[in-house]
């Protein structure tokens, strides 16, 4: 019996990274901007998507992949806006993986502009999994507190933009949007920040413009 130490240096997330790269290539090839939404449960991801569906109606076409542990509720809310939606129920898993997105990608209509992926509500685990998106939004709602970026650095580090939601509640809460933005930008320099109230529509124009700008950059890169 002989024992030996083998150096393997194998990446544990290699299979997810491969699947994500294939999705990114397919979405870019179809001229679709993939957007991954990360946040704690109850930060307003679905409500923000409902508001964006209203804002984009008649101008841009979108589709949504919903990730939740259980129920079709979020996909039903999105479909009631006339937007195609697929529900992935993870049955307990704390995040979406690229392979799960790959399984529904074939059903996504080719002629859309935006594919939004609403991750499982969790500010920790989804940060580690690339889903093949070109843009990652992290949402932080005013009731959660402005001290969260430094507590959950991975999520903010991995994001392209921070959306501070439920701005309509700011008069009642000690949440300081400038402090939240500064803390997040200390972790991720250049992070874009939007303060919105999805139910009142405030700040949505700025966010929608940012998404359209990213879509145009993606498409101009295709030429």
């Amino acid at each position: 019996m002989t024992a030996k130490t083998i150096t393997v240096a194998r990446d544990l997330l290699a299979s997810n990274k491969l699947a994500a790269a294939a999705i990114r290539q397919e979405l870019r090839g179809r001229g679709i901007l993939g957007v991954n939404l990360l946040s704690s449960p109850g930060s307003g991801k679905t409500t923000l998507l409902e508001t964006l569906a209203d804002r984009f109606r008649g101008r841009f076409r979108m589709a949504v992949i919903e990730g939740d542990i259980e129920t079709e509720r979020d996909a039903e809310r999105i479909r009631s806006k006339g937007v195609p939606a697929w529900q992935i129920t993870t049955g307990g898993a704390c995040h979406l993986e690229a392979r799960m997105i790959g399984q529904v990608l074939g059903d996504v209509p080719a002629e859309i502009d935006f594919l939004f992926i609403e991750n499982v509500g969790n500010l920790v685990c989804p940060a580690s999994y690339d889903l093949g998106e070109d843009l990652r939004l992290v949402l932080l709602s005013s009731p959660e507190g402005d001290d969260k970026p430094a507590k959950y650095p991975q999520a903010f580090l991995s994001a392209d933009a921070l959306v501070l939601t439920k701005a309509d509640l700011l008069p009642y809460l000690p949440f300081d949007p400038a402090r939240a933005a500064a803390e997040a930008q200390a972790i991720k320099p250049g992070l874009a920040v939007f303060t919105v109230s999805a139910i009142r529509g405030e700040g949505i124009d700025g966010l929608a413009g940012y998404l359209v700008g990213a879509l145009e950059r993606l498409r101009s890169g295709l030429a």
């Binding site: 393997v8 990446d11 704390c94 430094a150």
Partner: protein, 114 residues
């Protein structure tokens, strides 16, 4: 909180390496865990001990080597390890830095018995 599914990926690597080297048993595994990987080492250790029963790594010991965040500054070319989440260049103070280490999860080495 997905440490058990990561451990399942570790075992795919172990089975593959054991087959490749004609080994019957894995006695030690060294994992490199980035401090910004979002993984809790203690949970990985307990998930590994739970998972290994009845496998080729039943008696294996898991060792976790934490990998700190290492930044590279494209401005001044400096590289430095950073202990906190203030991700700025230690040399020139620039905030435009790249994280080159500390976010990944790697199986570094495995000890095999043939």
């Amino acid at each position: 909180m997905h440490e058990l599914s990561l451990v399942a990926s570790v075992f795919e690597v172990l089975e593959d390496e054991a087959r490749r080297h004609g080994a019957a048993k894995v006695t030690r595994v060294v994992l490199k865990v980035g401090v910004m990987s979002g993984v809790v080492p203690e949970l990985l250790l307990s998930a590994f001990d739970m998972y290994k029963k009845g496998t080729l790594a039943e008696t294996a010991r898991l060792e976790i080597v934490p990998v700190p965040v290492k930044l590279r500054c494209p401005g001044c070319g400096g590289e430095a390890v950073r202990e906190d989440t203030d991700f700025s260049c230690a040399g020139c103070g620039s905030r435009r830095v790249e994280i080159v280490e500390g976010r990944d999860l790697f199986v570094e080495t495995v000890d095999l018995e043939t």
